[in-house]
Symmetry: C2
Amino acid sequence: MRKSIATVTLSGTLEEKLTAAAQVGFDGVEIFESDLVNCASSPAQVRRRAEDLGLRIELYQPFRDFEAVPSAALARNLRRAERKFQLINDLGADLLLVCSNVSPAATDDDALAADQLHQLAEQAARHGIRIAYEALAWGRYVSDYLHAWRIVQAADHPNLGLCLDSFHILSRPVDPGGLRGVPGEKVFFLQLADAPRMHLDVLQWSRHYRCFPGQGGFDLTGLLEAVFATGYQGPLSLEVFNDVFRQADAERTATDGMRSLLTLEDSLRQRLEVPLRAGQHGRHLELQELPPPVELTGFAFVELAVDPLSEMAAERLLEELGFARVGRHRSKPVQMWQQGDARVLLNRTHPDAGGWHRGDVRASAIAVESPDPARSAERAEALLAAPIPRTHGPGEADLTAVAAPDGTSVFFCRTDARDGTGWLGDFHPLTVPDDSGPRGITGIDHIALSQPSYSFDEATLFYQSVFGLRQRDSEEVADPYGLVRSRAMAGTGNRLRLVLNVPLLGGGQLPETAALQHVAFACPDIFATARRMRARGLPTLPIPTNYYDDLAARMELDASLLEAMREHEVLYDRNEGGGFFHFYTVMLGRRVFFEVVQRLGDYDGYGAVNTPVRMAAQYLAMAGVT
Amino acid sequence: MRKSIATVTLSGTLEEKLTAAAQVGFDGVEIFESDLVNCASSPAQVRRRAEDLGLRIELYQPFRDFEAVPSAALARNLRRAERKFQLINDLGADLLLVCSNVSPAATDDDALAADQLHQLAEQAARHGIRIAYEALAWGRYVSDYLHAWRIVQAADHPNLGLCLDSFHILSRPVDPGGLRGVPGEKVFFLQLADAPRMHLDVLQWSRHYRCFPGQGGFDLTGLLEAVFATGYQGPLSLEVFNDVFRQADAERTATDGMRSLLTLEDSLRQRLEVPLRAGQHGRHLELQELPPPVELTGFAFVELAVDPLSEMAAERLLEELGFARVGRHRSKPVQMWQQGDARVLLNRTHPDAGGWHRGDVRASAIAVESPDPARSAERAEALLAAPIPRTHGPGEADLTAVAAPDGTSVFFCRTDARDGTGWLGDFHPLTVPDDSGPRGITGIDHIALSQPSYSFDEATLFYQSVFGLRQRDSEEVADPYGLVRSRAMAGTGNRLRLVLNVPLLGGGQLPETAALQHVAFACPDIFATARRMRARGLPTLPIPTNYYDDLAARMELDASLLEAMREHEVLYDRNEGGGFFHFYTVMLGRRVFFEVVQRLGDYDGYGAVNTPVRMAAQYLAMAGVT
């Protein structure tokens, strides 16, 4: 399929937008009128620039408030169109999007609309131009694609067809199944956007909150299937009005958009596989194939970047948590700590990196277990994840790493491999962990990573497409100094759980806890584990005593249980599935802390109800309140 | 009236919130449960701190999902309440807010609700506590105050009354007139919040977009009148859930809130004046009186801070615009330029101030014409505008200045005063402006000031209450690198017009044009003015030629007019009222530019439709595109 993007989706001047679209491999663009009006290049210069970049100008848009108007207005509108046809010719394009009339001057008269659109198409034909008529969800009289299709049928002109826009179709309670009656050659263009489900005025929703396919709540694969069943052969074009994208780096947004289209195409290919073989659908489709996803089975390790000062702090905290130092890297200043299946690597860096404060710690890499690391990496790179070049000594594993949108390195590993793709051999073994005693930490339950607010949806799509995680609804948690948005994501069987956090608003002074990262370790018995850790001297995060009074009022817990929770600073949550005990360590540096959790029954959350008290407690600790 | 604020309205820990509320003069607070739960002080410590600060704890909230439940749940809920009553006693408070049940466990049974609330009130009475029952707009069965009132009547307990919340009342299509049937002693508490009119799910609307009275679209004066007509004697309490306030400085937000309450109280006092005399309403009311507003009649001057480098640039640009240097300050490095009634002061500062780049220019002060500057200043200070201490030489005018929320100094002047309050005498006259030739600039049409995004509503309220300006709807304009929100405000007869601009989103790289400030000068004949300015060498902002092609398509303008517009980089807008011609100068420093405008007929806008092309053109000029 040809891939296109509307210039309004990207930030910058028209010339910057074209450059970004070409850079990430789009075949074409829709030119949005205001981008052209405001730019310093003439239409002919834009045409040449697009040609130089290998971009086709698929469509010019929008032409508004044309049809179903009184005759004097029609004459004016046709003169207005004539000027735009000349411009489209100068651009070397041949398709104009006309959206359904929203002005009070329009009348509710389909025959008149059809007649006037026929006249427009006739005039367009003289310039070799076709008209794609689109029902805006807030059109004055024409607001769904079936209505637009009836008018296009009545107008009956070869140069008049439909523009389908997934937002306008899926934001309304209209069945996309109605597309079955539309012949593919009358679908002139297909615009794609997703959106989170919101109870908001549809115009505001469309203008501010659209996002790329996969980032919202619409079934775009289903819509695509219906559109391709018509025989549509045009491009897939992203048309996304999004406040964040308008402000973000254009190439970054374009990459995000291309990743979204590749994932969508791949999911359609998977869904159509049987019908394709049966020859019913999509014979004409050339669907790009991605390396198939590999189910990830857990975390292999998390790597913390430390400096010589924080390295000592991290070692102590890991010891107190019961970890043992099990290895030292053969060629790099990296040590490995382990307890159960939880592995933490400490990678000593030098404190002269940008923005690094002495004593800082950062979660710099996560490694996930893949039965086929090479194929996982191949899929990640096909999905435009940036590969990270790495050096490795002779005989060491050649782990493939890609960069997540927040800059975290992501490794795909097979820890138990004995065939050379394993990575444990890169470490000189130091201690064999002593598993004979009572079980403490058994593995990594989840990892929480902070994101810059402008890349929240981008990061979600990345982990969705590259890791195959499913997103859950995002929730807002109240930090004392602002709201933080948090989104949990999990793989099959919850073997891999990630939480992404961002400040809800970007302006003013950001809540600092939104920038924290943490690793949560699973254990089978929180109080026994806490007692042993305390005996080793572990400093836990002090929880305000009011929390336990409130918990007692809310939950009617057993007094001795409550006492144990108070003693060990353990927090609690429960829902229909089960319960959740958890406690936190103090901060390691300024950005990282650890959590120890115990899940009871089928509890599937992350104790988000307790996040505000944790955040408040972290500020109290930062300020030295005891 | 006592004035109170809910702790959830302010940012920070509970202790910080109490300090901020006391600092700006609130009499009391509502304590929001999570603020107490997350804080490091025990309830008794909070009580002592509030006492030390002179704050009364007016109410504790919220107690949720209590009424109309099966009997087992009732027993649990009463035990839960018992714990909260002890806590409220420890806080030294005596009022608990119970909001209408939202849980699926609730039943639609008013008699049951009344019976259970009676039991709760009886139990509360034993602790000397009263219950204020509030209908949440999204309550499962009880969602309006009249329904809540019927239940309170049926429950019939002296310790049970209503909590009225302006958001829950005014967000729904319910007439506040129904309050006439409610006796004032059964209104236990009144919470106030405003909100912009939005088509959004009411829960989301309430939780994120509430604002202070006067910042939104509700008729709070009318509601207040209805509530006081019942005989209500309790406090006015601000309860505002707002994403920006959560992140802003608490004392700044508290000041904004207090200014809002003072303005609201004053507007109620004005409205009630006649009934008060007639003794019908409000005998019990002690309404604070502000110095009455003085109608401002225009701009006296705008002051630009320049450094020695940009001073020269500003002088040249003013000369090219046709201004004459008419005065030099007797004791300060300030020169005055004038044309018609437009005066621009250049105040030479030294380029070592924080954030100042060599060659910068800032609009540092605006001066407005008041028939009674002393009374204007008195009102501003009563509304908590921060006075700016100024030195003045012997015999010089003692102009009162206050700081606007963005830091701009605001002067109230009476330029034509001959009684010593005039300020022109502070300047040595240099030139008498030559008014014999054709008229050029006649005055200041409007001034546009950029605001930090977190103080947009604060700035609006400031200019509304202190200047008496009316706000118009805000609009979003598309800068190439992000959306900018723009709000026009105007005084009576449009003699004073201000435009406030902020970036719509705070995160990522902000659109730089959102930080620009500009002064628009009025002229009676744009083309004659432009020609004379060009003859003097004025560099105007180059407008992309595509703009004129598009304008021709949209407007069908006369070819010679269009030619003149192209030649002079003049932009155009029109609406039902009339038309608007305008052009821009190049930038002066990095933040300031000038505009020259001509209004035709009753055109009342600011040419916002052309703002995107202006912004795009400014980036092109910055980058050196010619």
